[in-house]
């Protein structure tokens, strides 16, 4: 188990310190790859784009996921499980199909733009082949995870606590930030990580929907292995991505205070 997991990672790290020349790996120890990645404007642009995209996608996912998860947990009744599975349904169809489906809806000749044209209005270009489209695609892709994480947390949430808040003068918004969110923060944090980290590495969705300015770190990373044969640089990218993800997870972890999470029982 450890073997299958650790060995590929180690290989990646090792290769990242070598270099390639015309499709051959040359065992020449150096740190050039990292110097390039961390100093050259070009690659920092990709990293920056990915971090921004992941942040935006995570925030938007949060805004969408919370009401959905809340509604299902609070008002779902006996249909709770079915509803949650339904939100995950797109997940079962595979990424290419979902990206294609998005193109059918948002594309230059997709449903939305065709309707606009029929109404005599101009089609909206931002919908397709842009970072906006790429972002929407990524939200669509990863939102089931966040909904699930928050939903599972809400299952163990005592909604009666909101009555206490209400009786004592809390508006619904205040009650959410004073009671609901803190007590479901761990689920939310898990959801954040589940969306942020994969989005950071996203390559397929931006490739299809992102347009000419939509290349993210994941795209360029995949490019190193699939097309240009520059595996050493690619491996270094992999390592950088890994560390950025670790930092993100660490930052999220820091926000969790177990004592204030609502876990009862046991000594913490």
């Amino acid at each position: 188990m450890l073997f299958f997991f650790v060995l590929p990672l180690l290989t990646t790290v090792v290769i990242s310190f070598w270099r390639t020349e015309s499709y051959t790996i040359i065992h020449d120890w150096n740190i050039d790859n990292y110097v390039v990645l961390l100093t050259k404007h070009t690659y920092l642009v990709f990293l920056g784009r990915s971090i921004l995209m992941a942040t935006a996608v995570t925030l938007i996912s949060l805004i969408y996921s919370w009401p959905i998860a809340y509604f299902i947990a609070y008002a779902g009744g006996r249909y709770k499980l079915v509803l949650v599975l339904l939100t995950s349904a797109p997940f079962f169809t595979g990424i290419i199909l979902r990206v294609t489906a998005l193109q059918q809806i948002f594309g230059p000749i997709g449903i939305i733009n065709t309707a606009l044209i029929n109404l005599g209005l101009k089609p909206i270009n931002a919908f397709m082949y842009s970072n906006f489209a790429s972002g929407m695609g990524l939200v669509y892709l990863w939102i089931p995870f966040m909904i699930l994480a928050i939903y599972l947390s809400l299952l163990n949430f005592n909604f009666d606590l909101l009555e206490v808040a209400k009786v004592n003068g809390a508006s619904p918004i205040k009650a959410f930030f004073e009671v609901t969110l803190p007590l479901n923060w761990i689920g939310t944090a898990v959801g954040i990580v589940l969306v942020f980290v994969p989005t950071l590495a996203a390559s397929i969705t931006p490739r299809f929907l992102g347009g000419v300015n939509g290349a993210l770190f994941g795209n360029i990373l995949a490019h190193q292995f699939g097309a240009t044969g520059t595996w050493a640089l690619g491996s270094a990218m992999g390592v950088v991505l890994f560390f950025v993800s670790i930092i993100a997870i660490f930052l999220v972890w820091k926000t969790v205070d177990l004592r204030r999470s609502g876990f009862t029982g046991g000594d913490i």
């Binding site: 082949y129 290349a215 699939g226």
Partner: protein, 400 residues
Amino acid sequence: MSSKKDQKDGGLQAVFTRRDFLKGTMTAAAAAVALSACGPFIKNQEKATLELRWLGWEHYNVKKIVDAFQEKYKVKVSSGFFDGNSEAYNKLKAGGTDDFDLVMADGFWPRLYAKQGLVQPVDYSKISNMKYVFDDFKPPNYMLLKEEDGDRMIAAPNCWGGYGFTVNMDKVDEADAESISLLFNEKYKGHLSTSARFEENIALAGILVAYRMGTINAPRPDGKSFNPYVLTDEELEEAKKLLIKQKKLLLTRWNDEDTLERLLRSESVWASPEWSGIYRRIYFDKLDGKTDLNMRHVLKPKEGGLGWVDTWAITSGVKDSEKLELVHKWIDFRLDPDNMAIVATDVGWSPTVDVRDKVPQRFVDSLFLNNTSAIRGLYQFDAPSSPEKWERVWSEVEAS
């Protein structure tokens, strides 16, 4: 090195069509079956029925033609398939010369095979149908089928094609259409598209840049003739600048032909390079009255373009004289104009053999059968001379 065919492999950064996706999955199965079946039986069957084994692109496995050959010469034919030249190359290097009698290859690959001793000379005198092959695909017009330092022919031509621009002539001015600069023309902002493959994007930009700089016909550092995949640092830099300026003119870069076809048919995109398959489909629809789109395919822009010629080569594993006769018969059979006509209409690629009087006019037009001389001005697909430099250039283009 890579070629047009290699572009259809199923890697992460690949341009693929639905057909090729199927091809990819079938290849694995077919190759496994073919190779495993071949192995232990080869020795035995050589004594019984003679068996011809060829390794090539799957779409050339036309049942009609194969069955007819088996019938005519009372032999058995079996095949193996690949998506990209490098796949076949690696296979042969690993002992595949014993498993296959014939291998298909395009562009610069036959010469590479010959240099590595994986193929042996082809005796054109044994291939009577060479007389039907256009001169454009023989020396001195096309040299890549002759060994680099010598006079022997190392492969026989099969089909050819380009990577020209499919242009919507209702939207694009006549004066702009026949040049690579069309793809970089501000007038058509938002309605241009290219594939996502970085090699061809840089190569086409490289041709335009070298043409404008005048270096395209001047002596090259490596002494050979111009190859858009071997660019000087100066040419690369200029190509990069061009590509960066091009970005805001593009609607998108396409990853698969279906997307491009939709974009062209909906007139969201007015020009894009492609292998002419989409053009042909729209053209046929026009002839059938199903559309009134006015498309043209510019096979060779005035500065030059990219193209390919695929071939049959005989592996060095063929030692037996009876087998040697048979392989030449195969090549001859495949080059028979009637069989090539089938390839044109059923498979959709343009034969190097003249079949103009054997296929409907619409094929003559859409497969450029009257235009074979175009191959002379087309540069064969290849792999970047320095992947590292090209990767950097591409990243800079993508990041800007």
